[in-house]
Subunit: 166 residues, 2 copies
């Protein structure tokens, strides 16, 4: 029993070290990759023909509850929207279907109307590729986000319209 316990503890410590090492670096504005986002529920989907990529839009509980209640103008503080993008690929057995290929990035909008007052109430961050490298070299990267999202400033700066569900 003593041996098993020691081995188990060692395995746990080793696993902990790996996890700690693999945690992606924060974005240049200090935003950390949200934990457990891969378990979030679906809010929308899009196919960007200009970027030849497909996206699933997911949200944390606050965002999903707001989306399903139609309470998104504005989205409540605490909402986090995530967008996962993959390169387009033709389905090998169904050529009229575009399906996800290589993983491109995970990007997030975090609603905190006080903390992010200078960026329309949203904190922006993106991590590139399977290695989840933070996007941007300094805090100015958010100006690029805003330049695009300003086109939807009448929709709380969000492109996504939550999908209708039965």
């Amino acid at each position: 029993m003593k041996l098993i316990s020691t081995l188990t503890l060692g395995a746990l410590l080793a696993a902990g070290s790996v996890l700690a090492t693999e945690k992606p670096a924060p974005a240049p504005n200090g935003i950390e990759l949200p934990a457990y986002y891969k378990n979030w529920r679906v809010i929308g989907v899009s196919h960007r023909q200009d970027k030849e990529s497909m996206r699933v839009i997911i949200g944390n509980d606050t965002a999903v509850n707001a989306a399903r209640a139609g309470n998104t103008k504005p989205w409540p503080d605490g909402s986090i929207l995530g967008k996962l993008a993959w390169k387009d690929q033709i389905h090998p057995k169904w050529e009229a279907a575009t399906v996800p290929g290589e993983f491109v990035h995970a990007e997030f909008m975090i609603k905190d109307s006080a903390k992010y007052v200078k960026t329309r109430g949203w904190g922006f961050a993106r991590w590139l590729g399977m290695e989840q490298k933070p996007y941007g070299t300094d805090q100015l990267f958010v100006q690029e986000c805003l330049a695009c999202h300003d086109q939807v400033k009448d929709n709380d700066s969000v492109f996504t319209h939550p999908v209708p569900l039965p």
Copy 2:
């Protein structure tokens, strides 16, 4: 307090009746609409240009765990895959983006290699539109499902390849 309690009870009973009435009818093969599927996690996404519709593929815990472990040849018994489809729509503020419009259907594949041995181990069912009307007039509707899914019989009859995730 008595009045409030009676009113509350009445409201609960009324809500219960509505919910009972709104439960969609089972598919012609007896399969019931899976409960809570709207809370399932993402396994894939596709854009069917031939059907002018976008799909998100979701799964119950058994299916999502199998997908993330690469354990899908075959998918384990108990896996349920769901596909939610919406008509294509151009994003009003971004014309190179196709986004979901009207909800088309929710369809499911339920893995039970013994129960569904005659249909390659999968039970098929689909519910149409926001009113979730069962698809098909009799049990023969599954032949239509199989005719198409036979093209991917070397992939356990599943078109979806789980998305890569970091």
